[in-house]
């Protein structure tokens, strides 16, 4: 800037900064409120005294959480799901994208396969038929019910495919001349150069598996097989179904019964892993978004 900004410009900058700060604060307040309830004494939380900071500070809810069997059991299911699910997803994305990234001259049936996968992005059987199919394949109530139905994420596969396309052709032409087959090219050339893409897609896959809750409701018959988010969802739907059949007075006493601090502590723990890694990996989160969204 060569010249000094005008008065109106400076006023705009101040107002703009204030406005954006306000929006950000409004976006963060709900989480602060949740955390404050979980860190308050049970009586203060029940009486609805807690607003932005804890009233009668207490970590009882978290101490109690430490002994809550349901919480740790479902946490373990979630960890299992994230590890196993991400491994399966990434393997399939990688191994499926490779053949589809070949030029038509190298792979005669490429277009047929591309359409075969692409159709599933635009048309699906929907909830009920999918449920019946999963039931008939005999994986209900096992961890595979949470992994196999969505094992090949076509959208991620397309991202990977587009990345593979950007790898210089000379690289695998040289390898072919040296006598390497497709498997060797896949593992020894494509895998090392695509690690950044794998990391980005993997991050999204991990978050997706961690956050998923509805398939747990659908495919798990016994609550001790619920992943964490599914278990949390039962805490929330329990309040909802009670809430709608009550008068305001009853509503107040019901909230007393529902162990508000413990519930909020558990919900907060469900968000904590993502909140912890998010600031450090934000670059990858944003990259993953913009890679897929707009292509010129």
């Amino acid at each position: 800037m060569l010249h000094k900004p005008s008065l109106s410009r400076r006023m705009f900058i101040v107002l703009n900064t204030l406005l954006l700060t306000l929006i950000t604060v409004l976006g963060i307040v709900p989480f602060v409120h949740l955390l404050s309830i979980s860190l308050s004494s049970n009586t203060a939380a029940m009486a609805g005294e807690v607003k932005l900071w804890p009233v009668g500070f207490s970590i009882d809810a978290y101490m109690f959480l430490g002994e809550k069997v349901e919480f740790f059991r479902s946490l373990w299911v979630s960890i299992e799901r994230v590890v196993l699910g991400t491994a399966v997803n990434m393997f399939l994305v990688f191994i499926t994208a490779f053949p589809l990234a070949r030029p038509n001259s190298q792979f005669k049936y490429r277009t047929v396969y591309v359409w075969f996968f692409a159709i599933t992005m635009f048309f699906g059987g929907g909830l009920i038929p999918t449920y019946i199919v999963v039931k008939n394949t005999g994986i209900m109530d096992s961890i595979w019910a949470l992994i196999l139905p969505g094992a090949l994420n076509v959208w991620n596969m397309v991202l990977m495919l587009n990345f593979f396309r950007s790898i210089p052709r000379e690289l695998d032409e040289a390898a072919t001349i040296d006598g390497a087959g497709y498997w060797r090219i896949l593992w020894q050339i494509y895998l090392p150069v695509s690690l950044p893409s794998i990391a980005t897609i993997g991050l999204f896959t991990i978050v997706g598996h961690w956050n998923a809750w509805f398939d747990g409701i659908l495919y798990m018959n016994s609550p001790d097989k619920y992943p964490l988010q599914t278990y949390l969802s039962t805490l929330i739907t329990a309040i909802n179904s009670q809430m709608s059949s009550m008068s305001p007075e009853q509503l107040k006493s019901m909230e007393n019964l529902s162990e508000k601090t413990l519930r909020t502590a558990q919900i907060f723990m469900g968000a904590l892993p993502i909140m912890l890694v998010y600031p450090f990996l934000q670059k990858y989160f944003v990259k993953g978004m913009t890679v897929g969204s707009v292509k010129e």
């Binding site: 705009f12 900058i13 499926t96 059987g125 929907g126 909830l127 038929p129 809750w213 909020t264 010129e296």
Partner: protein
């Protein structure tokens, strides 16, 4: 024969993905035949009785169906408009921020809820709008009676729309910001030399510069008219607000999983899938024509 042997590894790589897609994507599509059956889980797809279009007539004549369809369209239209307007305003405001760390920080904060699950966000929203939550705290301090937000059809619909915008606005904001950053800087310099102020620069350079992206985003969102946000509504609603917030997906879920009316539920699902497919085909064709947008 030689060609087949050369391409054999490529087919082999695709095999796991193809098998899973046949079972869990094409299986349910085939399972849609149940929409034309008096489906009994024990008899399966092959032995259930065929009833033609009876399921469709039955469902379309249910007293709730029109309301459900109306709710779906209203909620998703509001979301579609706000998902364009709010991120656009945020992106324009952020673009005027000169300090990079501040811009980065605001972006991260706005983007965070995108990565959290609906169980966590639903729990947060329910605490926020509960009878003695912070929002009612403000209502009371203004001298009004507390409002039962989660039990009032109009308020609840607004909360559904608002909280989804809160969760998702970061995505379009990042995409639009990226587009703004891509505008040629010399255009602004030339405008400045010609004496155009910041406002004129925004109207005549920034907005036309990102118009293609805005059109692309709106066109692509049209395919979602019948997706009003299943997981979000399912975790937050209760029977009292069915009238204002029950949408096609939640309706199908209850019809199928609770009433065990698999045939009619699949019929609604098929109805939705066919309309969505039509819309998506039209919009992708339009996006391709207008913007040369392709997913492959």
């Amino acid at each position: 024969m030689k060609l087949l042997r050369k391409e054999f590894p490529l087919h082999l790589m695709l095999l796991p993905g193809v098998i899973l897609t046949v079972i869990y994507a094409y299986g349910p599509m085939a399972g849609l035949v149940m929409a034309f059956q008096q489906f009994e889980p024990l008899s399966g797809f092959f032995k259930s009785e065929w009833v033609g279009f009876d399921n469709f007539t039955y469902v379309f004549n249910l007293p709730d169906f029109n309301q459900v369809l109306w709710n779906t369209i209203v909620i998703s239209l509001f979301k579609m408009v706000l998902f364009l307007v709010v991120p656009l305003i945020l992106a324009l405001l952020l673009n005027e921020v000169t300090r990079r760390w501040f811009s980065r920080f605001i972006q991260s904060a706005i983007f965070l809820p995108f990565f959290l699950s609906w169980t966590v966000l639903g729990g947060v929203v329910i605490e926020l709008f509960s009878m003695d939550g912070p929002v009612n705290g403000i209502v009371k301090s203004l001298g009004s009676e507390p409002i039962m937000f989660m039990l009032n059809n109009d308020w609840f619909r607004g909360i559904i729309i608002g909280s989804d915008v809160w969760k998702g606005m970061g995505y379009n904001m990042i995409v639009m910001l990226a587009a703004i950053t891509g505008i040629n800087a010399t255009l602004y310099e030339a405008a400045e030399v010609d004496g155009a102020g910041k406002w004129k620069q925004m109207v005549h350079i920034t907005l036309p510069g990102i118009a293609p992206i805005i059109i692309l985003l709106s066109v692509l969102s049209l395919g979602n008219v019948l997706n009003a946000g299943f997981e979000q509504i399912l975790i937050m609603y209760n029977p009292t607000v069915y009238e204002g917030a029950d949408v096609i997906d939640t309706f199908v879920y209850r019809l199928g999983m609770f009433s065990q009316q698999f045939g009619p539920a699949a019929a609604v699902g098929l109805f939705k899938s066919v309309i969505s497919l039509g819309l998506v085909s039209i919009t992708y064709y339009a996006a391709y024509k207008y913007n040369n947008y392709r997913i492959f």
